[in-house]
């Protein structure tokens, strides 16, 4: 499934990878814990944005595909997956 915003997502993810590497360096250099914790929170917020984009892509592609197909079993699977994801997210 190709989200329309694939380049944007890849860009975000490579920045997150850099942020994680930055945190590793901060720990290695014994930087102040609160600064490290603040950076970890920034990465979690950045991941939340990626999740958000993925959810929209999922809705526009996979779920729309299941609706258009009219395949009721596939629609049930898609609905269950979303509910499970919601459960785990909390």
């Amino acid at each position: 499934m190709i989200p329309d915003n694939k380049p944007k997502l890849l860009n975000r993810l490579s920045r997150i990878e850099g942020q994680v590497r930055g945190i590793t360096r901060m720990v290695d250099e014994d930087r102040y814990c609160i600064d490290v914790l603040t950076q970890i929170q920034a990465v979690r917020a950045a991941l939340a944005k990626v999740e958000s984009e993925m959810l929209k892509a999922h809705l526009g592609h996979c779920i729309e595909g299941a609706i258009v197909s009219g395949d009721k079993d596939e629609q049930r699977r898609k609905a269950s997956e979303l509910i499970e994801l919601l459960e785990r997210a909390r």
Copy 2:
């Protein structure tokens, strides 16, 4: 939409109402902040369980209804609602 587990849900909710009343009393009696905060966390966990039950009811009734109906626009509405809920939940 009537969840199969309506009595259970009503029971949980009336217990939560009692817990909130308990927290009000704790604040009124100037109880120790950390104890109040611990109780607030308990209420939030109890609300998460109610959410979980509601989501399962929603899946079993409303979404299943939209799937069985074959009404694609209704299915799209249901899917968008779930994604929005997921967005807000985080």
Copy 3:
């Protein structure tokens, strides 16, 4: 420990109690699941604000008290409590 903002807190809490009662009524009247879930999210947000006020009260009273007292064991207890709360909050 009496927070300076006790009346405000009591007011917020009694509104939350009313909101929970409203949710009970919604479930009892078989209202649409997504509307119930949206109300639950509103209560959780309102509880987060109460937590926020309690934390500020805790900082201003209990923790400040421990600092002024100079009692190191008491300070250690207070610090551990906060960390534990942070752990559970996530």
Copy 4:
């Protein structure tokens, strides 16, 4: 501030970096959205464990240092930082 568990933390972080790279690859290969979202949730859980370790390190080192020093202003700063972190974490 050097946490006692620095090697463990660095190890965890380099694994998280690998996980993020894995997610980038999944997006690049157009893997199924739900699988990507599940991986993102795994990274967030792994980051939560790092946070947990950092908080314990912070308690054991920085906060303990402020307590032992008896410097009340420093203790106030440390307490405020923790509360702010708690606020942002929710």
